[in-house]
């Protein structure tokens, strides 16, 4: 177990460097540079700027210094003078993290609950209605859902503020908008998983022992049914990361996601590279956690 985790953690380093290299080469191949956009500087200033950020060096030197700067946190942002990439990520990521976690918590709570209801009341009106709602949830794009919720609950009923990010009241709509599609996926996965487990021998044994129905369902059946949901958490993290990009634009949330798009448009190469590396590490650690979680859910699974 420990060796497995250590090995996987060590693998992350070369993978992230490789990904950074791909991103970097993409930026290099694109026509134009960070400082020859809309405003044109006098040539001396342009040269000075490029020298300051080593843009006049060969690409491998640039890449090396980017990586070194990212590793010790001193890489400066090209477009926001005086700030390092680390500081920029540090100030905006907590907001995205809170948004993503709230959305995920909402998705898990709603998805697992309705999945269990669907499976226990299979082929009843409860089952059909929750599963139809789930398919609708999967099909409505979050950038359509967001404005609709704002129109309805913020501007129409006035229950929540329509935008911004200060205080729990403003967290509700963005978290629901981001989480609903995942709630729908999780509901379908939980239902399918429960249906497979609910007739298994160990569940019948639990019932035969005379355990209360909620203990049978929550402690015995659910644990076996959750494996597909846990598998989904890996890709879901990736989707939540990109999802925050849109949600932050819709609700004007000052998080890292939308900031990343701005940096890409501004050609703030160091910021783009920093965010790509940062999010890749998060994603890979999340995938590792998912693999570890299997062993807890299903003792038959061995890590190799």
């Amino acid at each position: 177990m420990t060796t497995f985790v250590a090995k996987r953690l060590l693998q992350i380093v070369p993978l992230v460097v490789l990904l950074a290299l791909v991103t970097f080469l993409l930026l290099q191949l694109a026509p134009g540079g960070p400082f020859d956009a809309e405003r044109s500087f006098p040539p001396e200033i342009q040269r000075q700027l490029e020298a300051r950020f080593q843009l006049d060096q060969p690409w491998y030197v640039q890449f090396g210094s980017y990586m070194a700067g990212l590793a010790d946190g001193t890489l400066p942002s090209l477009k926001r003078p005086g700030l390092t990439v680390g500081e920029l990520i540090g100030s905006s990521f907590p907001v995205s993290l809170l948004l993503g976690s709230l959305a995920m918590a909402f998705a898990l709570a709603l998805g697992i609950t309705s999945g269990i209801i669907g499976a226990l009341r299979q082929n009843t009106i409860w089952d059909w209605s929750t599963m139809s709602v789930a398919l609708v949830g999967i099909s409505v794009p979050n950038f359509v859902l967001g404005p609709l919720l704002v129109l309805c609950f913020a501007l129409g009923l006035g229950w929540f503020p329509p935008a911004r990010w200060d205080g729990p009241a403003t967290w509700v709509l963005p978290a629901i908008t981001l989480g609903l599609a995942y709630a729908a996926y999780i509901a379908r996965l939980t239902r399918a998983g429960m249906l497979e487990v609910i007739r298994a021998d160990f569940v019948r044994t639990a019932r035969a022992k005379g355990l209360a129905e909620h203990v049978v369902v929550l402690r015995h059946a659910l644990r076996g049914a959750l494996a597909p949901v846990v598998t989904f958490l890996g890709p879901a993290t990736a989707q939540i990361i990109t999802g925050t990009v849109v949600i932050e634009k819709v609700f004007q949330v000052p998080g890292l996601g939308y900031y990343f798009v701005q940096s890409a448009l501004d050609r703030d190469y160091s910021m783009v590279l920093g965010v790509v590396c940062f999010y890749s590490v998060i994603l890979m650690v999340m995938n590792l956690l998912v693999d570890v979680a299997y062993t807890w859910l299903d003792p038959r699974v061995k890590l190799a």
């Binding site: 398919l135 794009p141 359509v144 990361i241 849109v246 990343f260 890749s280």
Partner: protein
Amino acid sequence: MSAADTHLVVDERELVAGTSLWQDAWRRWRRNRVSVVSAVVLVAVMVFCSVGPLAAELLLGATYDGQDISLGASAPSWAHPMGTDVLGRDVMARTMHGGRVSLMVALVATAVSLLVGVTYGAVSGFVGGRVDAAMMRFVDLLLSTPYLLLVIVLMAVIPPSSVSIGGLDGSFVLMFAALGLVSWLVLARIVRGQVLSLKQQEYVEAARAIGVPQATILFRHIVPNTLGPVIVYSTLTIPSVMLSEAFLSFLGLGIREPQASWGTLVSDGANAMVVYPWLLLAPGLTMTLTLFCLNFLGDGLRDALDPRQGET
């Protein structure tokens, strides 16, 4: 041989005339009413988007970029069934045109992903051994990255004008390539798995024995047999590509003015929804309906073509 004997033979043939996989699947699919209704609605949406603009121009004189500034943003009326936008353009004509663009991007990008994914997966599975291991490691690597972030970077830094092919808008070409090149990964895995088991079959051995070249064995004899899962997965790729296109366009990174897609229309609509809600509702609901039907159709096809595969 007497007439009665011939009759008997014919009868027997009719009895043993097996149902092919496709007939079987067709029968199963037709029983799935929701899926059939979805297919009908989808055809209607396609007609709406392909023939619609022409009809709108002939009947109402409305085109997607024709302006009537004096009108401004007007609520739905007989002349403009879905209203007009801030610049006085007919929203229905724009929704149709946007749908054309969104559907085209989704179909072409899915075709790109099919081409890349099937070839990659088939070669990987057929060659096997170390090559297979290396090729699949590469897919795993890409799957473990937040690749949509890379697409954002790609769309942001490459000016569309630099990649336009012929008369085709550069932002379209970028979109086809970017979305096609990221959605082939899972497909490659599925095809590889299929090929791994198919290449052990007797008919492949027979083909080898009579000296059919390797490439022909792979693409003439093996790949066509992977079609079922490939069709199922592609049907589900179309809505996800459509969603990605709209996502990028919504961020201002995809289709650019004067072109429009459902993503850009929803983006414009969201900005103006407080005063002119129909600007959001018309494209937003059309797109949602389309995605809904595509998902149902995909689900139905999966149940029909691949009954063993459960829900995912």
